[in-house]
Amino acid sequence: MVGRDADNRILVGGAAAAFCVLIVATLVVKGSTGLQWIMSGMTVGSIYALIAMGFSVIYSSTHVINFAQGEFSMLGGVLMFSLVTRGHLPTWLGFIIAVLIVTAIGAGLERVAIRPMRNHSVISVIIVTIGLAIALRATAKWIWGTDPVRVTAFSSGTRVKILGAYLPPQSFWVFGFAAVAVVLVFLFFNRTLLGKGMRAAAMNPDAASLVGVSSSTSSLVAWTIAAALGSAAGIVIAPIILPSFSSGAMLGLKGFSAAVVGGLGSAPGAVVGGLVLGVLETITAGVLPTGYKDAIAFLLLILVLLVRPQGLLGRAEDVKV
């Protein structure tokens, strides 16, 4: 096993080194344009990272991949439109109400659609989440229509200069929120009893329930956190992405890719995966004809799945007997 670990360390180290070389090369060759790509890529990457963290929360606790995760963010965004852009509530109040509504929806869906599936295989539950995604999308379309909506940015101003690059002020809200979220999620799963118990429940439900963590509670808590996190993320990114009923599909796909690249179930992995994906996409769009951009995301995904299926920061699943 020692050799295997060393191999993995070399692999991850190599990938990190290659990525750093790419960043430095971009900066050296392209100067401030390159810096602009990296900064824009980090904004896009932080958006992916926020969605990816939602995937991680539910995966860590139940081994389910929630394909309705992008829809939680979409709902946060369009609710914010109704409450703040149309309803003229202050941003902070709209934020709280929108997060509460989506959190309630997330918890409710867990009780109504996920809990009854507790005796079925994980793959069946994943298929149920696809159904939930379609239902949420259709409901949002019915309420908000097909047009994208505008959510007012949290702070005024059109751009902020940082080193030689320009970013919209909202980017900094996204960076800040992603940083806070990753720390909170990491602490919850690694430092609190409930969080550790939930991870245990995912690995061995019977043993965990013997020591007082039921997989049913674990699943409810995970869905509640994921819905809260997803909707809050959706609200913070809404002024940038101009959400519509169908935005959840794109967010879910990119967020899932980021989670797999970084390592499903790891919050820091979600951030690394999101940032790598976002920066690579933007550099590709800048250097190659733009059609190749999406191909790069999938290429990266396939590469990771082939070489290091547990993701860059993920732990290999050692099943010891």
Binding site: T33, Q36, W37, S40, G41, T43, V44, I47, G145, T146, D147, P148, V149, R150, T158, R159, Y166, L167, P168, I237, I240, I241, L242, S244, S246, S247, A249, M250, T282, I283, A285, G286, P289, T290, G291, K293, D294
Partner: protein
């Protein structure tokens, strides 16, 4: 006391006279003759699915036209009925709906659909079953080359491109442009045609970039444009892409003119782009700003009446799509006045339509032109302080 009954009968008589004279006018030619058979015209529109923002106003306009016609003389005394089917924005459903309209409803002609894909599928049925079809979609390939039974009401993508090139040459006076387009069919088709036609006008395309319909950041593409000598950026796509591009341009401080497509000819674009929308120029049907149409023209009167009536009936602003639907119904019912319901005769009569005043413009078809409108029915709109103004 005796005076009053006289006054009363006088008033009554007067009322009677008015009523009689009114109904006499009505009996003249202004009434539907219920003994005549009802003229049925089919319509397949995208009432649900992604294209429903197009299909729904088209449906409303047709229902309004039906009411207007039947409140008057109908078509030559015949009552008119538009039988409307939903294609759910899907070509397969559109063919199904059209076949149903032909076989079970026995319609004389078909209108629609709202999208180019569904309309293309329907145009094949129109040709094989020899039934006139008036489409409300903008894809150039629908009528070029000319299909015998297929006509169109909206201005084509080609007309919009011609208008944009005309603007770039004569108004903006630029020699070098960059193109940034949506990677979907609309964006790619527009960019292809623009790149092909620009050199003929003495304009060089110095950069051509694309983006995905769901992309959230186009700064990478824009930094490439910034590094070229482009004097204007032409953006070919529909919401929300162009709104994100307008914001990204502001963010990067790119100050060259933003020339959009008719895909952003809606207030949604202004809402999404906010202050970044100011200065954006795009081609659109003149009905969007009625004051751009000469005041004393029949066209202006038609557009003003249409907009007022639509607003009263539905409490909604009539957009260009409502106009496309209305025009399709108008063209067919006008031709029916001479042709009746014979399909071959009706087709010939539609092709003879000349100088018919519609909402989208003045329609003239010919054996070699089934487009109806021309580039002159379009104008360039500039966004200033969040409002549309005609860019003369």
């Amino acid at each position: 006391m005796s005076g009053k009954p006289v006054v009363r009968s006088a008033v009554l008589l007067l009322c009677l006279a008015v009523v009689v004279s009114l109904s006499a006018v009505g009996c003249g030619e202004q009434k539907v003759d219920t003994s005549k058979e009802t003229y049925k015209i089919g319509a397949v529109l995208s009432l649900s699915g992604p294209a429903s923002p197009l299909g729904q106003p088209e449906q409303r306009a047709l229902e309004m036209l039906q009411e207007q016609l039947n409140a008057g003389a109908g078509v030559d005394g015949h009552q008119v009925e538009f039988v409307i089917e939903d294609d759910e924005s899907l070509p397969a459903k559109a063919t199904e709906a059209m076949n149903k309209l032909i076989t079970t409803e026995n319609v004389a002609a078909v209108l629609g659909s709202s999208t180019t894909g569904a309309s293309l599928a329907m145009s094949e049925i129109a040709e094989s079953k020899k039934i006139p079809l008036v489409v409300c979609a903008a894809g150039t390939q629908l009528t070029q080359p000319v299909k015998k039974y297929v006509f169109r009401t909206p201005p084509t993508d080609s007309m919009a491109i011609a208008k944009v090139l005309d603007y770039l040459v004569n108004k903006a006076k630029v020699k070098k442009i960059a193109i940034l387009h949506d990677a979907n069919a609309f964006g790619t088709g527009g960019a292809d045609e623009l790149s092909k036609k620009a050199p003929d006008e003495g304009i060089e395309v110095v950069a051509r970039e694309s983006y995905g319909s769901t992309d959230t950041d186009m700064t990478a593409q824009l930094t490439k444009v910034k590094d070229t000598p482009a004097e204007a950026l032409v953006v070919w796509g529909t919401n929300p892409g162009p709104a994100i591009i307008a914001k990204n341009m502001q963010q990067l401080g790119i100050n060259i003119p933003f020339v959009g497509s008719h895909g952003i000819a809606n207030k949604k674009f202004i809402e999404l782009a906010g202050a970044a929308a100011n200065g954006v120029v795009f081609p659109a049907g003149k009905m969007l700003i009625p004051s751009s149409i000469p005041e004393d023209s029949e066209w202006r009167t038609a557009v003003d009446d249409f907009k007022t009536e639509f607003k009263t009936k539905y409490d909604l602003e009539a957009d260009t799509f409502a106009g496309h639907g209305y025009d399709a119904g108008l063209i067919v019912t006008e031709a029916m006045k001479t042709a009746g319901t014979d399909k071959a005769e009706l087709r010939d009569q539609i092709e003879k339509t000349k100088d018919l005043v519609g909402i989208g413009g003045i329609f003239t078809y010919s054996p070699t032109n089934h487009d109806g409108l021309s580039e002159d029915d379009l104008m360039m709109i500039k966004i200033e302080n969040g409002n549309w103004t005609e860019d003369k």
